[in-house]
């Protein structure tokens, strides 16, 4: 009996210990391994040698002293910009003695995990990176702190740090980092979508001659209107055994790739076409995402856009109806398609020769034009959760990451800096997709480099696109289109994804899909 008691006691102790082991770990799951970015000429910048600080001068090391030995946790989308930050974070660790853990997840998973973490007030994360459409939800539920409480604190603010006058675009910042005129975040990046095209095919003399013979006009390199895009897509859709740019194809090649699955990527793709066709899902007052407006998703322009998308399916790979942005990118990386409208935070991977057969063969232009030469605002931002137990330390990390040197180093590793000074670095300008990204994000005001047809590299904004007139403004500027950020936006996004998917899949007519969608969106929005 005695032995039985002893055994019981041991069992209970073991059980309690095993329960303790099962409780949420103090640290989140191991951070995603960085995807060995082998970007040419992009070595991680070494940690800057610590300059001796004058007595009383603000230094990061001194400001972070109270947290020495602590850990901060960051969560974001597992893409090159986050992987770049991960690679640079040891510099922060070296200066401050603070350990940084970065967790990378898929786009939707990162949004979901953060929302659940906030709802549970677990305080696991000290910094969360979220897409700007989540702004309203984060603010209205009281989950994030305004940035001013740190920015205006002399003990925490580096006197040399000032982002306001260095932003690539203040309107972009307003949409991605502020809500109802209050700053709740700083930009992790500004991103947008633009046309990736195989310039080695478009600029090839044989292809140019063949196109002219077939369509009666010069092969547009790149297409700047949707009509040109459609012609080019049809033209480059070839069978295995056909010739393309002087070579015999081993497999079928397609004009373009599209994200048509029931996935958030189809929402972004639809918005691109709808905006450029002059349509809007919601007519946002003053182009502000935090303001409610009239639902116009079933306008003639939006309908024409959806019909156009459907008309492009024959020129896409057979799997297009199950494509998300991942398959779209894979199609470009494997040389399966001539064109795709893609995100610039994915461009790094397509330019990486270890991951892409199309590396060095792609040039970058804006989204084709119908009634508007435009780009959609998008960005992930650094938020400090109210549930964080180390908000000041989180701020110090964000401030460090927003510093000029780190921004440049991050850019070379796959980042998408929101700061103007980053793009004054010649090595950054030499990254193939950078001039187009900057051109679009500055509304067509800043041309770092123009690209002419026949240029031996894909670097530069195509001259055709620079010269293209914006029918909405009458000049060559690029309209910057905001998306809703109010709390209901995530439900609207899901509704649009489903409606577009049903129409593209042929379940309902485009008109029916958009009429039903308009009714649903009205039911979701506040009366």
């Amino acid at each position: 009996m005695k032995r039985f008691k002893w055994f019981n006691a041991v069992f209970i102790v073991l059980f309690v210990l095993s329960l303790a082991a099962c409780t949420p770990p103090a640290q989140p799951a191991a951070p995603a391994e960085p995807a060995a970015p082998a970007q040419p000429a992009a070595p991680a910048a070494p940690a800057a040698p610590a300059e001796p600080a004058a007595p009383g001068e603000w230094t990061l090391a001194k400001a972070a002293e109270p947290w020495k030995g602590e850990t901060i946790r960051v969560i974001g989308e597992a893409l090159p910009p986050l992987e770049a930050l991960q690679e640079l974070s040891p510099q922060f660790e070296e200066i401050t003695g603070v350990k940084v853990i970065i967790e990378g997840l898929g786009h939707e998973e990162a949004v979901e995990k953060v929302t659940l973490d906030f709802a549970g007030q677990t305080g696991v994360y000290d910094i969360v990176l979220q897409p700007h459409r989540a702004l309203g939800k984060l603010v209205s539920n009281g989950w994030v702190r305004p940035i001013d409480e740190f920015y205006n604190n002399p003990a925490l603010r580096d006197p040399k740090f000032s982002y306001e006058n260095d932003l690539l675009n203040t309107e972009w910042f307003r949409e991605t980092c502020t809500y109802q005129d209050k700053v709740y975040a700083l930009p992790f990046h500004f991103i947008s979508m633009y046309l990736w095209y195989r310039y080695d095919w478009f600029d090839h003399p044989d292809e140019q001659a063949a196109f002219k013979a077939k369509y009666g006009y010069d092969l547009p390199s790149p297409p700047v209107t949707w009509k040109e895009y459609k012609d080019a897509a049809e033209f480059f859709t070839r069978k295995a055994g056909d010739k393309l740019a002087g070579e015999t194809l081993a497999n079928d090649v397609y004009g373009h790739a599209w994200g048509a699955a029931r996935h958030v990527s189809s929402w972004y793709d639809f918005l691109n076409v709808m905006y450029s066709f002059g349509g809007r899902d919601i007519k946002l007052p003053n182009n502000r995402g935090d303001s409610y407006g009239e639902v116009t998703v079933n306008s003639p322009e939006a309908l024409a856009a959806l019909e156009f998308i459907i008309s492009m399916i024959p020129y896409a790979p057979p799997g297009v109806l199950s494509y998300t942005w991942d398959e779209k990118q894979a199609a470009q990386q494997s040389g399966l398609v001539a064109m795709a409208v893609q995100w610039d935070d994915a461009a790094f991977a397509v330019e990486d020769p270890s991951q892409s057969t199309a590396s060095g063969k792609i040039a970058y232009s804006g989204v084709p034009i119908e009634k508007e030469k435009m780009t959609q605002i998008e960005g992930w931002s650094y938020f400090i959760p109210k549930s964080s137990k180390k908000p000041e330390l989180a701020w110090l990390y964000i401030q460090w990451a927003m510093g000029k040197d780190i921004q440049i180093a991050q850019m070379k590793l796959g980042g998408e800096s929101a700061l103007r000074t980053t793009y004054e670095d010649p090595e950054v300008v030499a990254i193939p997709y950078v001039p187009t990204a900057v051109y679009l994000k500055t509304g067509g005001k800043w041309v770092l480099k123009a690209r002419q047809v026949g240029d031996p590299s894909g670097n530069g904004v195509p001259q055709r696109y620079i010269d293209a007139v914006n029918p909405a403004t009458g000049d060559t500027s690029v309209s910057i289109i905001a998306k809703p950020t109010f709390p209901e936006e995530e439900r609207l996004t899901e509704a649009i994804i489903l409606a577009v998917n049903k129409a593209v899949g042929g379940d309902v007519s485009p008109k029916q899909a958009l009429d039903d969608l308009a009714a649903e969106m009205k039911s979701i929005l506040p009366k």
Binding site: P318, S322, Y323
Partner: protein, 294 residues
């Protein structure tokens, strides 16, 4: 007397786990289902709204569609897995010694998480990059994207689910077959029964309890299918693969409508409970009535 006291100590860990992992979330979800509670609707701050979520659910056509999808997936899945599992079990049980080696190998798909199995499905069925998808496309059998097709997306999910769970059914039935008594077979042989008669009159009645267990587990599992569908199609194209659990997940974790999502979960729970109870009794009754009277 003292040994009775110890029984409570032994039960305590399981009871605590049940309380923490099952009972508390269940009660929380039940409470939410009577409240307006959403992170994406500033007017739904957790106030009590009675049965409003359940009333809304009654008129929700998409909810009914999700039930239809669940049955369209579940019925063929269970039937195929039952038939294939039985066939494999019969084959394996013939070679008793070798069966021991085969069982762990056969169980591999079942041991993998549905997410991994779903990813395998996505990667292999893609007509541009996947082995099976390319073959289907080039052979002309299916020219379109399997997972983007209104016609093929659900059969693809059934196929992947069958790939994962047939071994599970087969292993239960193999265990059953290997444990059957020899006497009834000897008696059947003495009576001059042929192999078909022996199978239907001896093997099946004896195996029936194992079959019932395997099918019940699969029905419960199939009814709450989520992972494979979410990874492969996210309920698409349209809502053609949007099963009840996917629909409930979407409302809870995409629309962030915790109140309505909880009501959906409650209905799912009640439905599964009733269905399992009914199915179990029906199968028992069938067995009692000499279900395999061939």
């Amino acid at each position: 007397m003292s040994s009775k006291r110890y029984i409570w100590w032994w039960v305590l860990p399981a009871a605590l786990l049940f309380l923490i992992i099952i009972l508390l979330p269940f009660i929380t979800a039940l409470t939410y289902s009577f409240r307006a509670f959403s992170f994406t609707d500033s007017t739904a701050t957790g106030q009590f709204i009675g049965i409003e979520n359940y009333r809304k659910l009654v008129f929700d056509q998409d909810f009914y569609n999700s039930f239809k999808v669940t049955f369209l997936y579940m019925v063929p899945s269970i039937l195929i897995q039952g038939a294939l599992g039985l066939g494999i079990a019969l084959l394996i049980s013939r070679a008793v010694q070798r069966a021991r080696i085969l069982i762990p190998i056969m169980l591999l798909p079942t041991l993998l998480t549905p997410v991994v199995i779903g990813l395998v499905g996505v990667l292999t069925l893609n007509p541009d990059f996947g082995v099976i998808g390319i073959w289907l496309n080039r052979s002309g059998l299916i020219k379109e994207a399997v997972l983007g097709s209104y016609k093929w997306a659900l059969p693809a999910i059934i196929a992947v689910d069958t790939y994962q769970w047939t071994p599970f059914v087969a292993v239960i039935l193999t265990a059953g077959l290997l444990g059957l008594p020899k006497e009834p077979y000897e008696a059947a042989q003495v009576d001059g029964a042929n192999p078909v008669q022996t199978f239907f009159r001896v093997t099946m009645p004896l195996l029936w309890p194992y079959f019932v267990v395997a099918m019940l587990i699969r029905v419960i599992d199939a009814f709450r299918i989520f992972d494979i569908i979410w990874v492969m199609t996210r309920g698409g194209p349209g809502t053609v693969t949007e099963a009840v659990a996917v629909y409930a997940y979407r409302h809870t974790f995409r629309y962030w409508d915790m109140g309505y999502g909880s009501a959906l979960i409650m209905v799912l729970f009640v439905f599964i409970s009733i269905m399992v109870e009914y199915l179990y009794k029906a199968l028992q009754k069938w067995q009692g009535a000499g279900g395999s009277s061939a």
